[in-house]
Subunit: 612 residues, 2 copies
């Protein structure tokens, strides 16, 4: 590749305790750019179909983008790819913080981990030196203590750590990977790490990240920063981050009582103004002037003294809506507990919400829950349930499987109660009230993920590329494709998802940033970026197709398809799944019957090698 | 004073939010050396008799010794002085770690804190800049989280912090002060801090600690290090630290069942060899090659996953002997919980042991304990009791007062059940089996403190200054004076108490070290050091005399005085309190009737100004 930037891949085989450095082929960089592009490329190439997500052959692929560790803004997240134990398919998960930048400082772009270590270990990457160190003494510890004791062992409070908690060790299907209280939470990456006996990855690096064209890069960063400052969203997002429960409640899309209602009683208790009263300080990821993060704590009531980094909007919902109880204290206490024990908050809250409905319907009783009462309006059992899930104790052992599998095991109709797609629990948006957003949740290759193709057009009324009627099923295929493909190419550089949602990084600026960093001119061309975005989405779908996924897996539970919300501004309409899927597949050039890209589409995207 | 070293005192008035620097008078340095000498000097001068320990006028005096922050070994502890809410008298408490050295790096020898802040604050001392910062957001947090969030606020993981937990905030009478999981635990300094609304003291310094005579200093440090290496205790203490429960059980002085037995069934479960199986790594204080500290964790059983820095011998005892249950897991879990919540482990364990006996005797029932069962051989309720004590919830609110006051409130004979002197609970040595050690516990001015005049002659058979019969009451006054006065002068330099106990720092080496550091030649003279040691002990006693203390307060509970241990190598003898006190007072030159120094003695020690 042109310019000074050298990509380096580290392969770690835990079974054989080997480390192999390899360069990255220039054509791969050109064809996939980075981040999410590399993730699907390596995962597809390395894994055979049918790979056991918790077996030796599954991989964890950590990547940082080409601008991580530079002073480009909001580019220092990392992504991790694996076959998910929750969905059985391709998965991408992502986290902010400082781990992504440190990966680059340590001289690496990609770490590919496979195999299973005989004993618990942590991987220590120290400026080109690689080591597997004993982690028996860390096994069983929560994420916070794991960070503390590793730092002490290494005599260095500045190492960057991504680790699992007790939930990951015990194979909880939605255990995440945690770095300084930020999580690559979704999809069970923590369970994959746990199955590998890998407690943590620890980084220390001192290299400066080089860019290919310094002059162009400097100009592009200036342009990006000016764009942030000029954007009216910047100030408000810097102030309140994702504290936006009032917005979704007002739209009637705040899923309540396991998606049976669209807003929660007393939602003013969850308004951003309430969280601002509990704000300790703002926090930020490496090189991001937005500092959307927060430390918040509870001063009064049942959860007085609880604090957390967060909670994000999704977490606020996860511990209020599912229990139909707007208790700001619980959202903070539960967030912290999930972070400590290593659980994805969305799936945890939603799976508990699934249990609430099963309990209400008598499908489970106090006998099953070990005496815990799961009654709407009362969330006193939630912290204990979180603990039981993480440790797979008592009733938690069942919930640790996720709502889809737990529903199957309970039976008697419980199969239909978990609100998930492909096994991944829905986030805090009711698809019936934001239909393009819903169509994305329905079709995203990792399952019901809001960040694969967020629809700011519907949630925030952003009129780019056009204004839409959020309740109409019409012409949403094209918009969803637009959101998904743009997200895909923006995730090759691993730009924070929030920025495009708010129109803060136009595609041309993005193109100039990654082009100047990598020295590859094509990246400046929006048409090229869009093609790569589409290619990635299709490639990921072909990974899943190889595993047997198809149209049957692009499906919401009956409730979303057949039961309208009873009241509020999103009431009276169901999610018109068949109609919208037909439209979407047509726009995508996918076969309507199978939900799989046509051969023609695959050839057009240089993906003919995936044709089965 | 001669040489380059400049002492600096910082006075902080929390009520008026003022900071005043003052130099230290050369005569004060000459007459008191430092550390414990300064502590009593300032506390006596500044406080009026009758000062409310939790009121505005009580002070917290933090001191580092003249060699803290240098490469002299085991000299970087700090001491804190205050009037104790637990005893109502003079108190000194002490901790290792890195806080003492940092105090010197920040340019200070003494911090004197008085007043009460209107709102919760922490004191931030940054290389000569002083600041009170808002701590409302930290109030209610445990010690670990307090450390983490302060470091985050200051953007510096290297600041050194001494803080209180929930126990200190709530005025638990034996709440301690915690710095990186090391504690100045005893006597309720944490409650004093809490009453002042002072959550933490945070230090950052970059100054190099200067010594007056570099050549002499370097030679003395070399001599000290050679002495360590030549000492047979060095290797074993480095290996097992204070894990010595087998030694005291073998002597029959491991207080069991609230001092009704002298060894615990199955004590092999608490042997050092068992702890070594749980050792994660050794830890050390600043500039101490002994690294007697440990991280230990539990791998199996009820407390699997628990870990701590420690536990020290006293803590091992505090959560086994009082409950008559040798559970190594509990000792570790309880130690960590006390560190997190900010409690002294000795008083916590002993006060819980007091409750066990009250429960056995029917003086309290399940109704009082909120359903908790306190039955010997079963310690399942202990962690919950610790939590309740720290938060003053339920039954814990009573126990938070300490065993003496709790006994008074329960009445019906419970007044005699708490095993304490002057309100301070006894540590892990039965006085009936180590009588000079016991005489020290009886007469130490802060109450039953083992570190005021530890008797290695009895506990370890160290024949310095002479071999003794540990069970005999004869001639123990002189030995106790010897142990107390030597400890007193060694604590002017704030040498770690363990070192003299093991004969690792002879007095002449100690003298050369502090003389070379301060430039004061007199400190080289052992006779001078002994005089200062005696002076400090007497001065402290006069502080207490001014508060109304006297012979009546040098008294063990009836059990120690009247009931012999039923079996084992320390059975058959009681503590001959009257006889031993008479002997001790005579040796001390104190009035037999009052237990207070004679005027002649005070004049001899240049303490005539304390004559009332």
């Amino acid at each position: 590749m042109a310019g000074g930037y050298q990509y380096k891949v580290l392969r770690v085989d835990l079974t054989n305790r080997t480390f192999t450095e390899e360069p990255l082929d220039e054509k791969v960089i050109h064809d996939y750019i980075g981040g999410r592009g590399f993730g699907i490329k390596y995962l597809y190439d390395d894994l055979n179909p049918g790979t056991d997500p918790l077996g030796e052959d599954n991989e964890l692929i950590f990547t940082a983008g080409p601008l991580a560790g530079t002073n480009a803004q909001s580019f220092s997240r990392y992504k991790v790819f694996f076959k998910s134990p929750l969905t059985g398919g391709y998965f991408k998960s992502s986290s902010g913080g400082h781990f992504g930048a440190e990966l680059k400082f340590a001289g690496l772009d990609i770490i590919i981990i496979k195999g299973i270590s005989e004993k618990p270990v942590f991987l220590y990457i120290n400026d080109g030196k690689y080591e597997l160190r004993d982690a028996a003494y860390l096994w069983g510890l929560d994420c916070d203590d794991t960070h503390a004791l590793i730092r002490q062992e290494l005599g260095n409070p500045n190492v960057k750590i991504a680790c699992i908690g007790p939930a990951g060790e015990r194979g909880v299907k939605y255990a995440g990977i945690f770095s300084e209280r930020r999580a690559a939470g979704r999809g069970g990456g923590g369970a994959v790490m746990g199955a590998k006996n890998l407690k943590a990855i620890v980084l220390r690096g001192s290299k400066k990240v080089e860019v290919a064209d310094k002059t162009a890069y400097t100009a592009a960063v200036r342009e990006q920063i000016a764009g942030y400052q000029a954007n009216p969203q910047f100030a408000s997002f810097s102030k309140v981050g994702t504290w936006m429960a009032e917005a979704t409640n007002a739209l009637g899309i705040f899923p309540t009582k396991n998606f049976r209602e669209g807003s929660i009683p007393n939602w003013e208790k969850l308004e951003s103004s309430e969280y601002l009263k509990l704000l300790v300080r703002k926090t930020q990821c490496y090189s991001c002037m937005v500092h959307c993060g927060s430390i918040a704590r509870v001063y009064h009531g049942q959860y007085a003294g609880a604090w957390t980094e967060g909670p994000e909007y999704e977490t606020i919902w996860a511990f209020s809506g599912p229990m139909r109880n707007a208790d700001i204290g619980l959202t903070i206490a539960a967030d912290k507990l999930c972070d400590d024990l290593g659980l994805d908050t969305i799936s945890t809250g939603s799976t508990i919400g699934f249990a609430y409905e099963c309990y209400e319907k008598g499908l489970i009783t106090k006998k099953d829950t070990g005496g815990l009462e799961l009654v709407y309006g009362n969330s006193d059992s939630v912290l204990e349930l979180i603990r039981q899930i993480a440790f797979r104790e008592g009733f938690g052992d069942l919930l640790a499987e996720g709502s889809r599998e737990a529903g199957r095991r309970i039976g008697k109709g419980a199969e239909h109660i978990g609100i998930q797609v492909k096994g991944l629990e829905l986030p805090a948006y009711d698809p019936r009230g934001v239909k393009s957003h819903g169509l994305n949740l329905l079709t995203a290759n990792i399952g019901a993920d809001h960040n694969t193709g967020y629809a700011p057009q519907e949630v925030f009324g952003v009129p780019i590329p056009r204004a839409v009627d959020r309740l109409s099923p019409k012409e949403k295929g094209e918009l969803t494709k637009w959101n998904q493909d743009s997200t895909a190419f923006l995730e090759t550089g691993i730009l924070c998802s929030f920025m495009p949602s708010m129109g803060m990084v136009p595609e041309d600026v993005y193109g100039r940033l990654i082009s100047s960093a990598t020295g590859i001119k094509d990246f400046e061309d929006p048409a090229y970026l869009w093609k790569i975005g589409e290619k990635i989405t299709n490639f990921e779908r072909m990974f899943n197709a190889r595993e047997g996924f198809g149209r049957k897996d692009d499906s919401f539970p009956k409730r979303i398809r057949e039961e309208p919300l009873p009241e509020g501004p999103s009431s009276g309409t169901v999610f018109e799944e068949e109609e919208m899927l037909d439209d979407y597949y047509a726009v995508r050039g996918w076969d309507k019957k199978t939900g799989i890209p046509t051969q023609q589409k695959l050839k057009e995207l240089d993906l003919e090698f995936t044709i089965q």
